[in-house]
Amino acid sequence: MCSLTEAVKVTTDIDSLRSEIRDKSVRVIDVRREGDYKQDHIPNSVNLPLATLLSDDSPERVLKLVNSLGIDDETPVVVYDDTFGALASRVAWTLEWIGHSDVTLLETTFGNWKSLGLEIDSLTPEISNKEHSMNLQSNILATSDYLESAKLRDDVILIDNRERLNYLEQHIPGAVNLPYRTLSSNDGILRPKEDMKRLFDNRGISGDSEIITYCGSVGTLSGLAYYALKSTGIPNAKLYVRSFKEWKNLEKPTDKQADANYWDLSAE
């Protein structure tokens, strides 16, 4: 079987990005805060702070933002952050969601880019508006209602990407825990593909299932997991983008690891 697990390119490596920047054939999005961006950034990148996106991430608003960044349906987009790829993932996912198909993550963080001595710049490029179409990909989004019914199915795996202690304390019933740090390698925001595959394979996470990821609040850590899944060719991944914060606000049921004082083992 497994025409299912076709490899998907989810990251752009440093060398490719450098030449794409030279060719001006790519739109690079820096999702850090405006102040950080103004100080220095990858040349020619545009700034879309995650907070700006999150202040209203309805499809209409997102479309406006995308247009204002000079992105149309054909523009290749590369996103980066300085937060191990999690914020970049959330932005990239949102682009995908409104129907942009050519979006990838820079394989490393801005901090690492800088420490490698690669080119940086503090100029803000002139951007002219473009027209992106709207083609909502509802299949990559999980809402709480959807999740509630889906998680009863045998072929659905729910992954919690928060840290272990938080998971032990409280999680959505039936979720398995895969802390976001597990997904990265020493110098990349995501493990090499074979490594990632082995990790998932050990956990029984495969393309045969539909996989839903969530994290603490806005779908960043779980956004990274969404791309980790895609990087191994898992075709059917969804992000529960409102994540555990919404779940708790809705007072839906939660589970915990009972009868153990695991917090007291922590040295924090």
Partner: protein
């Protein structure tokens, strides 16, 4: 070009001498877990397999494991620290735990991730193989071996060679029960009488030349019933070290009780048989081993001395002012080495716990401050940086402050040992781990670490009678249980007094049961009694020893007298009067005892 690569000497000069790992064990483990989950492996054989590879079960769940990484002879190198730091974040709770036996443990690991940990450990030469189960457990060595001024010679190479010899050795794969070796430097700093085989380096003049060897103690151990080891003979020459070890293990293998799990440590065999008979058997068996194995079997003792090179001076010399707390820390956390100008610096942890950031900074600290380029873990859930030049101590202290590792009292009674208790152990009845931390916080606040009368005493707390925290040899020891007033249960501890683990090793005497929330006031009361009755030159330890040996003639003459004074403190209030009394530390729901299946005997 990379700027970060311009700073000098950050590459490690010291590399591990021995690679303990085998990568194929990671694949094998991953596959076995899969088979087990598919039901193709029965519960019992899987458990045995898991333990042999160093993964314990976890409290109330079969989904998680605890991975116990061995640090043979306690040695740990910078790259190993960095890997453990990453692993603790990726697969555990963002912290790791130094144990009392020179292991470092990762708790709450998803069983399916254990093989990923093995894989990363293998990259830096570490293994957890035979850290649990019925095997030769981590071979310990005193953290001061090589630097202790009382030692005859450095036993570290012998500890490493012994570990290497028995690891994966077919002879040691299914012993009746676990088997432990402790090497030490001198009488004072080891725990040689509380272990299956304890060894103190010794030198004898034989025909005018110096002969290296050991004093060997056999059949000691702590647990539900504890015994003190016996010395095999005056002197065991180094050539006989391996033969003796093999002989002892063969006898244990042959005669050890394989049926009765509660009594199958070698100490029970020694006790049942009687020491003299056991001793004779060992000597006879050794003669046979020597005769039959001498050609092929040899310990590979690598005694090439470590390179001692003081790390390059770190550039900025500005911060040469002495930070607050330095003198207190220097007094309670460092020891002068026999090598002049050098110190061993003990890092104070809370019940052995260390965050992933701190693990990372340990790697940097070693590179910047240790002239031997590695660290050594110790016997009390701690870790030491050795060969720190005296001129670098202030600077090191400043760095420790930055990473939250500068707490004082590391070598005093204010740093209690606490086993994992209800934080992760299946057999736990109380949260001994948190209690140890509570005591430490309170006692540091009271500055008890600065009180020289208390330095040589110890507090050790186990969460059940199994003694993982070695409470039996503590000056003040505790083990957990449940107490009850009417129908209400509260966490309770049995307290013992006067244990010790030096040349006069003895087990503490039972004093009385102390509710968890009364442990701190009770210890403070004991200190108060001591202060009222001490003689000049007394320490708490020496005073308590006179009492347990019936040779004290002040107001307090016996453990019974102490008990009388303490009794009013331990009377349980009703739940209405003091609801907090009925909660264990770290818990906000009413206390009840709950245990799962123990794996110590698996």
């Amino acid at each position: 070009m990379s700027i970060s690569k311009l700073t000098p000497s950050s590459s490690d000069s010291a590399k591990p001498k021995i690679n303990w790992a085998r990568v194929d064990e990671a694949d094998n483990f991953a596959n076995t877990v899969k088979l087990y989950r598919q039901g193709k492996y029965d519960e019992d054989s899987f458990r045995r397999f898991r333990l042999q590879h160093g993964a314990y079960g976890t409290r109330m769940t079969s989904d998680y494991a605890m991975v116990r990484v061995k640090l043979p002879a306690g040695e740990i190198y910078p790259k190993q620290f960095e890997t453990l730091s990453r692993l603790s974040e990726q697969y555990s709770i963002g912290s790791a735990h130094f144990s009392t036996r020179e292991n470092i443990q990762l708790h709450w690991v998803v069983l399916e991730d254990v093989s990923e940990i093995f894989r990363s450990l293998a990259e830096v030469g570490l293994t957890s193989r035979e850290a649990c189960g019925n095997s030769v457990r981590n071979v310990m060595c005193s953290p001061l071996s090589g630097v202790c001024s009382d030692e005859k010679f450095d036993s570290t190479p012998y500890a490493l060679a012994t570990a290497k010899f028995f690891l994966r050795n077919p002879m040691a794969q299914s012993l009746p029960r676990k088997f432990k070796f402790n090497f030490t430097c001198c009488e004072k700093h080891g725990m040689v009488r509380m272990v299956d085989v304890g060894l103190i380096p010794e030198i004898q003049q034989i025909n005018g030349s110096e002969q290296k060897g050991f004093k060997i103690f056999l059949g000691g151990g702590l647990g539900n019933r504890s015994f003190i080891g016996h010395q095999l003979e005056d002197f065991t020459p180094e050539e006989d070290l391996l033969y003796t070890s093999i002989a002892v293990m063969r006898i244990f293998d042959r005669l050890g009780d394989r049926k009765n799990l509660a009594r199958n440590r070698m100490r029970y065999l020694v006790n049942d048989m009687g020491w003299e008979k056991f001793q004779n058997l060992v000597l006879k068996e050794r003669a046979i081993v020597r005769a039959t194995q001498s050609v092929v079997t040899k310990l590979k003792v690598d005694t090439t001395p470590d390179k001692i090179t003081r790390p390059l001076k770190i550039s900025d010399e500005s911060g040469s002012s002495v930070p607050d707390g330095y003198a207190r820390w220097l007094k309670t956390n460092t020891m002068k080495q026999k090598q002049s100008e050098y110190y061993s610096v003990f890092i104070t942890l809370e019940a052995g716990d260390i965050t992933s950031n701190q693990l990372n900074s340990m790697a940097t600290l070693i590179r910047e401050f240790s002239s031997e380029g590695k660290a050594r873990s110790g016997f009390v859930q701690n870790v030491a940086l050795r060969y720190v030049h005296e001129d670098d101590l202030v600077k090191l202290y400043s760095k420790l402050l930055e990473t939250g590792l500068a707490k004082s009292g590391g070598l005093t009674m204010t740093t209690p040992v606490g086993c994992s208790g209800t934080t992760s152990c299946n057999l736990a009845l109380t949260n001994s781990h948190r209690l140890a931390k509570e005591i430490q916080r309170k006692f540091l606040e009271l500055k008890l670490d600065e009180d020289e009368d208390l330095t040589d005493s110890s507090i050790k707390i186990s969460g059940c009678p199994n003694s993982c925290a070695q409470h039996g040899i503590a000056t003040i020891g505790f083990f957990g249980g449940g107490g009850r007033l009417g129908k209400d249960m509260y966490p309770n501890y049995q307290m013992s007094l006067g244990g010790r683990f030096d040349a006069d090793t003895t087990l503490g005497q039972t004093c009385l049961r102390v509710p968890a929330k009364r442990v701190i006031p009770v210890i403070l009361k004991i200190i108060e009694m001591f202060k009222e009755n001490k003689q000049s030159g007394d320490t708490l330890k020496s005073w308590i020893h006179r009492i347990v040996n019936d040779s004290e003639d002040s107001n307090i003459k016996s453990v019974g007298d102490i008990k009388k004074v303490l009794e009013p403190i331990v009377v349980p209030p009703t739940k209405e009067d003091d609801p907090d009394f009925y909660l264990d530390y770290g818990s906000d729901t009413s206390y009840h005892t709950k245990t799962g299946k123990g794996e110590c005997a698996a």
